[in-house]
């Protein structure tokens, strides 16, 4: 039994490594470019879902319900994706009603660490200031 046990562990690790290696994707602009749906609940294409469009020219758009709510520039920074964006607190009144009386535009910066990168989907741990959240992205086109 012990001998079998010590044979199974490396074998399992090798198979897991091979499988993950076969499906893993590299963090490069070519991979990231395109339209992504955030935390997709089913087939991509939900008009109301959060979307992130990363363009080849370095600009991006974030939106909900088909409406753009943040626009700016994105780039790969070492192992992370950096986003510099222009947005308005007024867009997020539905999430935090306290933001209601505020208007105008503000510059914000988000950094995202990609994890579990697959061919057409990956997850990120993103932070803006002291706020941090994990979510998944599924390629739409």
């Amino acid at each position: 039994m012990p001998r079998t046990f010590w044979l199974v562990i490396p074998l399992t690790l090798a198979v897991t490594g091979f499988l993950s290696g076969a499906t893993a994707a590299a963090l490069d602009p070519g991979y990231l470019e395109g339209k992504w749906e955030v935390n997709a609940q089913g087939p991509c294409g939900d008009k109301d879902a959060e979307h992130l469009i990363l363009r080849g020219n370095g600009t991006f758009e974030y939106g909900r319900r088909g409406k753009a709510e943040a626009v700016g520039f994105w780039r790969i920074e070492d192992d992370m994706i950096g986003f510099d964006m222009l947005t308005s607190p007024a867009y997020f009144q539905d999430i935090h009603p306290e933001l209601k009386p505020l208007s105008g535009y503000e510059i914000q910066r988000m950094q995202a660490i990609p994890i579990d990168m697959q061919q057409d989907q990956f997850s990120v741990v993103a932070s803006i200031g002291e706020q941090m959240k994990q979510f998944s992205l599924q390629r739409c086109q």
Binding site: E50, E69, P89, M110, S123, S127, I128, Q131, Q134
Partner: protein, 128 residues
């Protein structure tokens, strides 16, 4: 010089490792399925809204602190951390005219009530 550079590299690697550790632990304890795309749990939207809100709260606290320092002759009682350190010098270096202008801005921005505006304005005028 070389030692300093090496220390920087090591520190940078340690930070990356820490970030990865945080990311990995979050992956383990917060499954994707719990963060629904919409219907109350927006991912990026929630992140942005949360940050904008806390950022605004901080600004409001800081302005309130500045206002208190202004109205009470720079006698700041502390208590707001970052705001206290920055507000006090600003209050001592401002002229009454500047204080009134800032007060007008605070009122226009909805940071203080009309009653508070009247009281603070009177306090500035009384200090002349």
């Amino acid at each position: 010089m070389k030692i300093v550079a090496e220390h920087r590299v090591i520190r940078s690697k340690l930070l990356s490792a820490a970030a990865l550790a945080v990311a990995t632990s979050m992956t383990a304890y917060t499954p994707m399925a719990t963060a629904g795309g919409h219907g109350g749990a927006w991912a990026i939207g929630g992140l942005l809204a949360g940050h904008l809100l806390t950022d605004r709260s901080y600004q409001r606290r800081e302005q309130t602190q500045a206002l208190q320092s202004m109205a009470y002759g720079g006698q700041s009682g502390g208590g707001y951390g970052r705001g206290a350190a920055r507000a006090a010098p600003a209050a001592t270096s401002m002229t009454p005219e500047q204080k009134l202008q800032q007060l007008d801005k605070l009122a226009a921005g909805g940071y203080i009530t009309p009653q508070e505006y009247k009281e603070r304005r009177q306090a500035i005028l009384n200090s002349l």
